[in-house]
């Protein structure tokens, strides 16, 4: 019984440590101390753009196609093919684009951070950095967070575009139950600029959590290469749970009380 109770206690402790650690990183960014290493920030931003952007856009494009196909066939089956744009609009902007962005961020960026920082930790590189009088948290973690905040809004907005494009291709060009004009009429009817902002907030919330979780597990990795592998797996679990929680809370917060569904006038 005691052992069973120790498990959730351990989770809560780890969560507390994670929050504390994340708070330190956010503090370094908020107090602008990270700007001392702006060169490193730009380097991280470049790495993010070059290594992660296409993968994220690719995944979102595929999910946009799926949303379009599902929406088109569902509305056809209910006799409302002209409303295919509803499903595409909501599915893309509110749910699946943020989720896929979060998945790919967790899989590509989050695990990459854990692996990189973890290997630096076990090979004493982080200690070497600290001994040189450079804060590892600022140089390694805060720069990554700032780089993510600089780059990812643009990456995400482009992701939304990729998702919309894919849905349009699937609904109008591939299935063709609705004309281009008819699709866009409904598609834009069911969303407005604040929705775009809310979607962006959801995605950036995920990105921040993923970077912080990755930094936490990587920076505190121990136990040699096996330890780094374990930390990477743990970070993936934590990030996937985090992504879904943020997605759910974001949907409840932004659209739960006002779904903005102009059906029936």
């Amino acid at each position: 019984m005691g052992e069973l109770a120790a498990v959730p206690r351990g989770w809560i402790e780890a969560f507390g440590e994670m929050v504390k650690f994340g708070g330190r990183i956010v503090g370094e960014v908020a107090r602008l101390r990270v700007l001392k290493y702006f060169g490193e920030t730009l380097r991280q931003a470049g790495i993010l753009i070059l290594t992660s952007t296409l993968v994220i856009w690719g995944l979102v494009f595929i999910i946009g196609l799926q949303c379009g196909i599902e929406g088109a066939y569902f509305n056809e089956s209910t006799g409302t093919p002209a409303y295919s744009g509803v499903f595409a609009a909501w599915c893309d902007l509110r749910e699946l684009v943020p989720l896929c962005f979060g998945y790919m961020m967790a899989a590509k960026v989050g695990t990459g951070i854990v692996a990189e920082l973890g290997s630096m930790r076990i090979s004493d590189e982080i200690d070497a950095l600290e001994v040189m009088g450079i804060s590892g948290i600022t140089f390694l973690c805060a720069t990554r967070l700032l780089a993510a905040l600089l780059v990812l809004p643009f990456v995400y907005l482009c992701s939304i575009g990729a998702g919309f494009l894919a849905s349009y291709i699937a609904v109008v060009q591939q299935i063709g139950y609705v004309s281009s004009g008819g699709f866009f009429l409904i598609f834009w009817e069911f969303q407005n600029p604040p929705d775009m902002l809310f979607s962006l907030i959801k995605a950036m919330g995920m990105a921040v959590v993923i970077v912080l979780v990755g930094c936490y597990y990587g920076y505190n990795a121990s136990g040699g290469p096996v330890g780094v592998g374990t930390a990477t797996a743990k970070s993936m679990v934590a990030n996937i749970v985090g992504v879904h929680l943020i997605s759910m809370l974001g949907t409840q917060l932004f659209w739960g009380a006002n779904p903005r569904a102009p059906i029936g006038g």
Partner: protein, 383 residues
């Protein structure tokens, strides 16, 4: 003893009539095996001062900068004089009581610890005061009192698992003691704020066991990294400094190579170059000879001595406040014999004995004799 200061120390010792070899034993805590004397001549090493209570900074922490500067500026000239001024002759046995063994340990486990500290004649650059550190149930440092004298190449020797690397991490504030204090140039490390700690760390160069080079940078950028981060030097000046250091360690031709293209020995030498590039006051070497063949170990030892000698000359010319202090952790007794000016022998989280290499090599403590001779017979067993 081939090193620059090793010779100087020998001269100092021999020229000081009040410091005969048997009685200058500094602080001895009266082990049965240790030679003791009713008339003890105590020289001015920081070890001889009474230790403060646990967790409290020592007197050294309160020394003013002015005091330290005046000490530092005239240290060389005043060496002998200070030794005689700082010395006092007791007419009664003033030996402090032998410390109790740490909690959970028996007196028998510490029977070879004489705690004797032979005087070095120099202030300590780094000082451990009653330091305790445990990782879970594994108690590593168990009341450690140890000093690394300024301007010397000190060795920290001891069997595996006695906390030598842990000591280094305490010196630079990567680990904090559970109890006790660590002073660097008289300032308490555990009590420093983060910003002060990062500033203090610039005094240190640390050579990690495997070099700890940054895997994402080539050799040149690795060595240039501290200069680019901490100085306003232009790229030309950075290149001059980096190439000078790389030449010193024989890696000028490998400047473009990535760390994974270097051999273990090359990585160590590169780490050495990086540790020196900011011209630190204190350079720490964590087992620089591990994984090296005997010839390269000897060459690395010579390199350490040579660079220490150069840094001493530079420090004297520049009248630096603190003389360069090197501390080497090793298991290699030959390295210790070749390189060390001062030796600390650590076992079971405490110093067994410490002192100038000559004194330690002549120690009659069976544990020290066994360890420094690398013999299988003696107090140290596989247990």
């Amino acid at each position: 003893m081939e090193s620059f200061y090793g010779r100087e120390n020998e001269e100092q010792t021999s020229e000081t009539p009040s410091q005969p070899r048997v009685t200058p034993a500094g602080t001895s805590y009266g082990s049965d095996e240790a030679p003791t004397s009713d008339i003890a001549s105590v020289a001015g090493s920081a070890h001889e001062h009474e230790r403060p209570s646990e967790g409290q900074p020592s007197d050294g922490a309160q020394r003013s900068d002015a005091d330290q500067r005046s000490e530092g500026g005239q240290r060389e000239e005043e060496g002998d004089q200070r030794e005689s001024e700082g010395s006092r002759v007791s007419v009664v046995n003033e030996q402090p009581p032998r410390p109790e063994p740490p909690e959970g340990a028996s007196e028998d486990e510490y029977k070879w610890h004489t705690y004797k500290v032979y005087p070095s004649g120099r202030p300590d650059a780094v000082e451990f005061i009653d330091t305790y550190k445990a990782f879970g149930k594994n108690r590593i440092l168990r009341g450690l009192n140890m000093g690394l004298p300024e301007g010397m190449v000190s060795m920290i020797l001891g069997p595996s698992g006695t906390g030598k690397s842990v000591c280094i991490k305490h010196m630079v504030g990567l680990l904090y003691p559970d109890q006790g204090d660590i002073l660097v140039h008289g300032t308490s490390v555990p009590n420093m704020a983060d910003d002060d700690l990062f500033e203090m760390r610039k005094k240190f160069g640390l050579l990690f066991q495997d070099g700890a080079l940054f895997g994402s940078m080539n050799l040149y950028d690795n060595v240039a990294f501290p200069l680019r981060q901490h100085t306003e030097k232009g790229e030309d000046e950075v290149e001059d400094t980096v190439m000078r250091r790389l030449k010193e360690v024989g890696l000028a031709e490998a400047r473009e190579k990535m760390p994974n293209e270097l051999s273990g020995g090359m990585r160590k030498r590169a780490g050495f170059a990086r540790a020196l590039v900011l011209e630190p006051d204190i350079v720490l070497f964590d087992e620089p000879d591990s994984g090296l063949d005997p010839v390269r170990t000897a060459l690395l030892g010579e390199l350490i001595l040579e660079i220490h000698r150069d840094m001493m000359e530079d420090a004297k010319k520049a009248q630096k406040q603190h003389l360069p202090t090197f501390a080497v952790i090793t298991h290699d007794i030959m390295s210790a014999r070749r390189v060390a000016d001062y030796i600390n022998v650590l076992w079971r989280g405490r110093i067994v004995e410490a002192g100038p290499a000559e004194d330690m090599l002549n120690s009659d403590n069976p544990f020290i004799r066994q360890f420094l001779a690398g013999e299988s017979q003696g107090p140290l067993t596989m247990d």
